[in-house]
């Protein structure tokens, strides 16, 4: 069991480290959010799994903490992304086209599929 716990913990730690490197090295805000939202969530889930296997007591508290991270990370990321889109003066790069601009500015623009 110690081997399973160690492997889960190291994989989770490596994911968190990769997320940190991505947040440090990526160029603009949305790329950093891409790195900072998904990988640490999976890393925290794996580390919580390792803790649940390793510990004899206190499992509900640990599982609840990890589930809170797992549920609230998409919500927080969505809020930050929307705020960064609406706020002025943040350097975001939208090379692939800004599909949201028509809906935000136009109001009655065609919300259909991609052109």
């Amino acid at each position: 069991m110690d081997v399973v716990v160690g492997i889960l913990a190291i994989v989770g730690g490596a994911l968190v480290l990769l997320a940190g490197v991505g947040v440090l090295r990526f160029e603009d805000l949305y790329s950093r959010m891409h790195a900072a939202t998904k990988a640490p969530t999976l890393g925290a889930l794996l580390i919580g799994l390792a803790g649940v296997i390793a510990l004899d007591s206190g499992r509900p508290k640990l599982a609840l903490a990890v589930v809170i991270i797992f549920v609230t990370a998409p919500v927080a990321s969505h809020m930050v992304g929307r705020a960064a889109y609406r706020a002025e003066g943040i350097d975001v790069r939208l090379e692939a086209g800004d599909a949201l601009a028509d809906l935000v500015d136009g109001g009655d623009a065609d919300p259909g599929g991609p052109p």
């Binding site: 110690d2 081997v3 716990v5 160690g6 492997i7 913990a9 190291i10 989770g12 730690g13 490596a14 968190v16 480290l17 990769l18 997320a19 940190g20 490197v21 947040v23 440090l24 805000l29 950093r32 959010m33 900072a36 640490p40 969530t41 890393g43 925290a44 580390i47 919580g48 390792a50 803790g51 390793a54 510990l55 004899d56 007591s57 206190g58 508290k61 640990l62 609840l64 903490a65 990890v66 809170i68 991270i69 609230t72 990370a73 919500v75 927080a76 990321s77 809020m79 930050v80 929307r82 705020a83 960064a84 609406r86 706020a87 002025e88 003066g89 943040i90 350097d91």
Partner: protein, 83 residues
Amino acid sequence: MIAVAMVLVGLGSACFLLRAVLGPSLADRVVAVDGFIVTIVSLIVLNAARTETDWFLGVALVVSFVGFVGTLAGARFVERRGG
């Protein structure tokens, strides 16, 4: 092996903290602090697994809640004040 994982998470935590210090806009700092709080919870859980004690896990629970609420407050602040 859990100590190795703690070192990895600590290095990632330092990266998040450096981005929170450097980050050109306020939204970058909010994102970095959100990730930093996830690393703090991970370190608490790993330390509990390493020492096989459970009395510190309530801190992980509270910190994850506070991190979520703090990120939401930061996002609202960015939205009103601008980057």
